[in-house]
């Protein structure tokens, strides 16, 4: 297996495999330099799939300590059902690392500096709403799309007849995967749907995320 060369100085911690692919596609599309197997020596940061929110939160501090070369760590997490709770638990971790977090997370994403260290936080979908990666992806559906309203009404019908097997917490997943299954290549994963341009990247939230990545890792 090819190995990523050199010790990266910056890391982006992600909750799962889907996030990993979405971020890679977004960066590729928007020209944000990222270090990966295709670009093993360049790029400004490497992504790490932490396999779950608990693992992600648990390893932030150890990642900072893992090497004196690590100067910047960004995290992208889902707000899930309670943005405020997610933010509060992040604030504790951030404070323990000697950064000074603001009362609320800025809508543009958070970037903090302390001595020569830098830390960034983005809470999906947009630092402002409850939800998850799939909500963010639904923002990327083109504005004039005709299928998305049909997805919503279809799901509503199913729910009204109690035929849905998904819990309502995961409705965003049902929405985006239904929509993706109706595209030219049914079943295209979210990351690839960005590359194939089923999804657009000119949405406001998407631009903010790209800006946050650039500002956090380009220095």
């Amino acid at each position: 297996m090819a190995r990523i060369q050199n010790h990266p100085t910056s890391l982006l911690l992600l909750e799962g495999n889907d996030d990993f692919h979405v971020i890679h596609s977004l960066c590729k599309q928007s020209g944000v330099p990222i270090r990966n197997l295709e670009n093993p020596t360049g790029g400004n940061f490497s992504c790490i799939d932490c396999k779950g929110i608990d693992g992600l939160l648990e390893q932030i501090e150890v990642r900072f300590k893992s090497s004196p070369l690590i100067t910047t760590i960004g995290v992208i997490v889902d707000a899930d059902i309670n943005l405020k709770n997610r933010w509060e638990s992040l604030k504790v971790i951030i404070s323990n690392l000697a950064f000074t977090p603001p009362e609320n997370i800025p809508p543009t994403g958070l970037i903090l500096n302390h001595q020569n260290l830098r830390m960034g936080v983005w809470i999906m979908p947009n630092n402002n709403l409850n939800g998850m990666l799939e909500d963010f992806i639904s923002f990327l559906v083109p504005k004039d799309d005709k299928l998305l309203p049909i997805v919503y009404s279809t799901l509503l019908n199913i729910e009204q007849e109690n035929l849905n097997k998904y819990s309502l917490i995961h409705k965003a997943k049902a929405v985006i995967h239904s929509w993706l299954s109706w595209q030219g290549d049914p079943g295209t994963p979210m990351g690839l749907a960005i590359t194939k341009r089923y999804l657009t990247t000119d949405n406001e939230s998407c631009k903010l995320l790209i800006n946050w990545l650039n500002e956090l890792f380009n220095r």
Binding site: G55, Q59, S66, P68
Partner: protein
């Protein structure tokens, strides 16, 4: 036991603070980050400034300069010798440039050096004033140049090395050629400390350490440890090889003969050295430089287990250094697999533009690094 460590101006450790220490502490880091230097500093601290130990540490690095035909100035040679202990080999009479080694305590201003048990070493200028009390009795009074007079110019002063522990101090005059043994063996009750250097398997020392524990339960601890490598170990003994040397022999359960231990390879001899040192450091310190020397990776984890258990039982605080990944893995596994064995810590030293900085990992952080495959070496 040291709960934390502060080292200032000792060799390449200009200002190192380790905020908390554990019972068993493993120190890692690239070359020239001061791993062995920390062990030396702890040895000096534990010995309360024993000059024989200090001189041995200097001699090991070949920094013991002697009076020569060309340069008969003993003060110069001695200053050069002892300056090798100080960061950047600085000779200074300022308090700021003194070597200090001790623990830290939390105060209003954050972590501060604790003064109570702190040991410090400093060059000092002084005069010997001869006082004639009567025709026949004279007394010598030592006047130190200190405080406000530090900045003044003096002539004809003498130079000494001041060793200070808390309120007590000792002055070693540097104008004399060094004696064979120093009479000064530290200020106050020194704690027990065993220092296993990279390459010393000193038979004479091991024989003496064995004598100390003969017919105690500690004999069995040593036998148990040797079983890691040779499971049929039954007994060991030290026998006289010649008038000056004794050598260790081993009796195995499946044979009537005894064998010299040195015929059985480096590993078993290294374990003997480590365990003998450990069982001779009750209530003190065990310092092991390059833990992995001579040890196959499969035995390192078992040896850690024994060290964790015995150090707890005998109240020994252990500091070890290593370059070996296997050694670190063995250490982590021992810590993670035995929830009843608390008290292990990994300390990584990094050289950042000439300044040595420490990064501390407690047991939980080591588990996280292990669980998520995070490289911390």
């Amino acid at each position: 036991m040291l709960d934390s460590l502060y080292i200032k101006n000792y060799r390449n450790l200009q200002a190192l603070t380790i905020s908390s220490l554990s019972r068993v502490n493993l120190i890692i880091g690239k070359n020239n980050t001061g791993k062995s230097t920390i062990l030396e500093a702890i040895a000096i601290y534990a010995s309360k400034g024993d000059l024989n130990l200090i001189y041995e540490l200097i001699s090991e690095r070949g920094e013991n300069f002697k009076v020569t035909e060309a340069n008969k100035n003993a003060t110069e040679a001695n200053m050069r010798t002892f300056s090798s202990l100080f960061s950047n080999r600085i000779v200074s009479f300022e308090h700021e440039e003194a070597i200090s080694i001790g623990n830290v305590e939390a105060s209003l201003f954050g972590l501060q050096q604790s003064t109570e048990k702190l040991i410090s070493l400093r060059f000092i200028r002084y005069f010997d004033e001869i006082q004639r009390d009567s025709q026949t009795i004279t007394s010598r009074k030592r006047i130190l140049i200190d405080g406000e007079e530090l900045n003044k110019q003096f002539v004809n002063f003498k130079v000494g090395l001041e060793i200070r522990v808390g309120q007590d101090s000792y002055l070693l005059p540097l104008d004399e050629d060094r004696p064979m043994r120093f009479g000064f063996k530290g200020l106050g009750n020194n704690e027990r400390v065993q220092f296993i250097r990279t390459r010393n398997i000193d038979k004479a020392i091991n024989g003496k350490l064995w004598d100390n524990i003969t017919l105690t339960e500690k004999e069995q601890f040593v036998i148990d440890a040797l079983k890691i490598i040779e499971p049929s170990t039954e007994r060991i003994a030290f026998i006289e090889e010649n008038l000056r040397e004794r050598t260790s022999v081993i009796k195995l359960s499946n044979s009537n003969r005894v064998f010299p231990l040195r015929s059985m390879g480096d590993g078993i001899n290294r374990i003997l050295t480590i365990i003998l040192a450990l069982v001779n450091s009750d209530n003190g310190f065990l310092l092991i430089d390059e833990f992995e020397n001579g040890l196959h990776h499969t035995v390192q984890e078992q040896l850690w287990e024994i060290i964790f258990q015995l150090s707890q039982r005998l109240n020994v605080q252990v500091f070890a250094t290593t370059h070996s990944e296997d050694c670190i893995i063995g250490f982590e596994n021992t810590l993670n697999n035995n929830s009843n064995l608390l008290g292990g810590k990994l300390i990584r030293l990094d050289n950042i533009n000439g300044i040595i900085k420490q990064v501390e990992f407690n047991a939980n952080e080591l588990r996280i690094a292990n669980d998520y495959n995070i490289e911390i070496r």
